[in-house]
């Protein structure tokens, strides 16, 4: 077993999930079964292979450049409302479970 009940609790904590006792039990079983299968990646020697985070740095980019310079096509001037107008406050708050006229409302964070 790779993952222990303690790991499940720790990871749930990181992920902001609570999980019921039942959920924790099945999570323990499922994660172990999936990670067992994933272990086959260790059959491959990848010591000299660079990681690939995305596809986009291969196409439409400036091949002569390095790093973020390659994506020159995606640059634009940093101007206020450069791509579109910001949402009106009322619209931005419309989907909030709790809000007043100006702000999202959440349970109190700071004790005084």
């Amino acid at each position: 077993m790779k993952v222990t009940a303690q790991d499940v609790a720790y990871v749930a904590d990181l992920a902001n999930l609570e999980l019921t006792e039942d959920e924790r039990r099945s999570m323990l079983r499922d994660l172990n079964s999936i990670l067992d299968y994933i272990d086959r990646l260790n059959e491959l020697d990848t010591s000299n292979v660079p990681p690939m985070a995305q596809v986009s740095d291969r196409y439409g980019v400036d091949e002569a450049k390095q790093g973020s310079e390659r994506f020159a096509y995606a640059w634009r001037a940093d101007v206020l409302e450069g791509l579109r107008k910001s949402l009106p406050r009322k619209q931005a708050l419309a989907n909030a479970p709790d809000a007043d006229e100006d702000y999202f409302r959440v349970p109190k964070v700071i004790e005084r």
Binding site: V11, L17, M27, D30, S33, V49, V55, L87, P97
Partner: protein, 477 residues
């Protein structure tokens, strides 16, 4: 004329020649939905007001004799992971049950600008995570060909609606096979374009380096028309590529004689259903008969694609789904007194079991001490998988495979075993990881009359070639 059996061109010319109106076409589809969808479950939300306003707009253009745009009056369905202004968008999740986006997804806006009529939003696996549509927070979709079977996933509603003539075409999204596999299960055409070909702006993120938007349609030509409409650079999505969009429809009728088609043993191994194998081999013979040259290629890292995919996709998902915190737009649990309790209980109540499983796996793979062993390792194997395709495409114009190892399975058959469900994506995840385009086109049926799909994979930004091959195959069938 049967108004619900039309293709895009059929619908558009019927409107242009005034055999019907856009309003009547939309109405006929709503009647069809009313009659059929109770047992299928493809639609989550109908956007009748928006549809009828758009239909009226196009009908006025017809009345005024104005030139009609390419999708004039064509009724479409949109997978519920794409934002639609003023129309509820749930991503198949209870956590977004009441979410009404304030803006439109670029792909949807481009369809409407081209005259399409959005009928409503399609059911899907929660946050597009699944291969059977059984992970929807709003109940499963059933396969129109056999109601005891799944339509595939995650774009199950999108595929089922096209198969049951409830929409002329639909948009789906594909992160590990979610357009092509349901297209194959439901007997329709499904196209995943190259990564960056279609803007992801307004697509609710699952795994950002793997997510693609694409069409599900009745014919290859329809898929080509839709791609032409939605493709191209969008400043709102910095990963949308600055690569010219060809006229895919004009390319369709170019001959396929002399094209080199790669066949990889790795896609015909253990686990492939015998009836699927026979149908795909027959399809390959037919392509050979049409003048294509069959060339063996090797994609040796294919057996590592599923573990690679399930690490990268879940890692990205665990980060993307952190935004559902009960503050700005998602479900909030009642009776909570502290902020951490609010986050946890809201997420516990809002997310379904598969989404929680993937968030947990992704968080684990990214956590201190495991990052190198899992996430980084997967990114390196992603390089190897991409190199496999690079060397194969140095020799061939396209690669032909089965879309899925089996035809549609039964509801409940795999839902208790996540790993066996993941393996249903074995022939599709590779293209998502490498960012290459793929299309699934129907290539026959099993003895039980279940559709089988042929997958054609192409070079980056070479959708034109795979569409052309799929079109020639479809016309010869």
């Amino acid at each position: 004329m049967d108004p619900v059996s039309l293709t895009i061109d059929g619908a558009r010319s019927a409107v242009q020649e005034r055999k019907t109106t856009c309003a009547a076409l939309a109405e006929a589809h709503y009647e069809r939905i009313q009659k059929e969808d109770g047992q299928i479950g493809a639609f989550l939300t109908l956007s009748r007001d928006r549809a009828m306003q758009q239909a009226d707009r196009v009908d006025r253009m017809v009345a005024e004799g104005k030139p009609l745009p390419p999708l004039a009056g064509v009724p479409v369905g949109i997978k519920d992971v794409m934002s639609t202004r003023g129309v509820r968008t749930t991503a198949g999740s209870k956590i977004l049950e009441k979410y009404v986006p304030p803006y439109d997804c670029t792909a949807v806006a481009r369809l409407e600008a081209a005259g399409a009529v959005v009928l409503g939003k399609m059911n899907c696996d929660e946050f597009a995570m699944g291969s059977s549509n059984e992970n929807s927070g709003y109940g499963p979709v059933r396969n129109p060909r056999d109601l005891t079977r799944v339509p595939g996933g995650s774009s199950g509603g999108s595929a089922a609606a096209v198969a049951a003539d409830m929409a002329v075409f639909t948009l789906g999204s594909d992160t590990g096979g979610s357009i092509r596999q349901p297209a194959s299960f439901c007997g329709v055409v499904g196209l995943m374009p190259t990564y960056g070909r279609v803007s992801r702006y307004g697509l609710i993120a699952f795994a950002s380096s793997l997510d693609h938007i694409g069409p599900l349609a009745k014919t290859v030509k329809d898929a080509a028309i839709v791609l032409k409409t939605i493709a191209g650079r969008d400043p709102m999505d910095p990963t949308s590529a600055d690569v010219p969009v060809p006229d895919y429809v004009a390319e369709l009728d170019k001959p396929i004689r002399g094209l080199k088609l790669g066949i990889a043993n790795e896609y015909f191994g253990e686990g492939l259903d015998e009836e699927v194998r026979a149908a795909v081999e027959k399809a390959i013979d037919k392509l050979k008969g049409l003048g294509c040259e069959i060339v063996p290629v090797s994609l040796p890292h294919t057996p590592y694609a599923i573990p690679t995919y399930y690490l990268i996709a879940t890692a990205e998902a665990s980060s993307n789904l952190a935004r559902y915190d009960g503050v700005r737009y998602s479900h909030r649990a009642l009776g909570v007194t502290t902020l951490p309790e609010m986050y946890r209980r809201s997420r516990d109540e809002g997310f379904g079991p598969e989404v929680k499983r993937r968030i947990m796996l992704g968080t684990y793979a990214l956590s201190a001490g495991y990052y190198d062993a899992y996430y980084l390792k997967a990114q390196k194997v992603r390089t190897l998988l991409t190199r496999d395709f690079d060397s194969a495409f140095a020799k061939v114009d396209a690669i032909v495979t089965p879309t899925s190892p089996s035809a549609a399975f039964r509801l409940g058959e795999k839902s208790n075993d996540p790993l066996s469900m993941y393996l249903a994506d074995i022939y599709t995840v590779t293209a998502d990881l490498a960012g290459i385009p793929g299309i699934s086109v129907p290539c026959g049926e099993t003895r039980e009359k279940l559709p089988i799909g042929l997958q054609i994979l192409g070079k980056h930004f070479d959708e034109a070639t795979i569409l052309r091959i799929a079109h020639a195959f479809e016309q010869a069938a």
